[in-house]
Amino acid sequence: MDVKMLMIHPEKCNNCGDCETACIKTRASLTSLGLSCIRIMKDIEDEEFFFPIACKQCENPPCLASCPKEAIYRDADLSWVLIDRQKCVGCGCCVTACPFGAMKLDKQKAKSYKCDLCEGDPECVKVCEPLALEYLDVEMLKYPNMAHVAGKLARLTKP
């Protein structure tokens, strides 16, 4: 099976919030926009720069290392980081450990949740009009690609 991941192009994001809404709709338990797995972050210094953030599926996930119940695992086939909801006790260690704030805690159910890429069919990608989100084969999202896009952006913002 091909490994696919979420690719984010922050320079294309226009802060419309459609991805957050789409994310909320996939989970019946979420009621407020602030609880979506994908969030659009705003740069404090640059008001025109928006950064949609979802789980990065880290190589060495801090959430996985911090979980005292071994409820977080990497799927062998898809190489996504996933949560075993049976084992999760909602202690919040992963939420503390995640450097991106991609781990969320459902306080009512006392379970953590995160982006699970809608089980292979991400809704946020479908609704993103400026195409800031892409669902790509993992081969396509190598570090040089990211640096290239970052470079383009830097040239745009600098006079």
């Binding site: 969030r39 972050m41 404090i44 911090s66 503390t96």
Partner: protein, 129 residues
């Protein structure tokens, strides 16, 4: 603490000990003194002892007040940006030991600055090349 309480009216008649349906009360006589004991895990909180006590010595209401007892006080860590309490210092220590890395005291809403900084670093590297 909301435990079983007996006030100074008690004269040690043992009416409560003999009548407790859950055998949650016990006593022993030792040399010059009589000691009356109560076992909280056996107690069914039926209030029988309180009803029958001839001296009104048992203060049973504390068991029914439904108040919370303080069991632990811990230091809190606040978000560096918004000041929202995020986790306890002790949990932060546990997690940073587990991931062998330090944790920035930021709430999930303000952790976004991290990827933005990474992005900017990439961008500056690219333009300097």
């Amino acid at each position: 603490m909301s435990f079983f309480k007996v006030n100074e009216n008690c004269n040690g008649c043992l009416a409560c000990v003999k009548n407790c349906p859950a055998s949650a009360l016990n006593y022993f006589d030792q040399k010059d003194s009589r000691k009356i004991m109560h076992n909280m895990s056996l107690c069914a909180r039926c209030g029988h002892c309180w009803r029958i006590c001839p001296q009104d010595a048992i203060e049973f209401k504390v068991l029914l007040a439904g108040k919370f007892d303080l069991v632990k006080t811990l230091d809190l860590v606040h978000c560096r940006v918004c000041g929202e309490p995020i986790y306890t210092a002790s949990l932060g220590e546990t997690v940073s030991n587990d991931i062998q890395n330090s944790i920035e005291p930021l709430c999930p809403d303000h952790k976004g600055s991290e990827p933005i900084n990474v992005w900017k670093k990439l961008a500056s590297k690219r333009t300097s090349q």
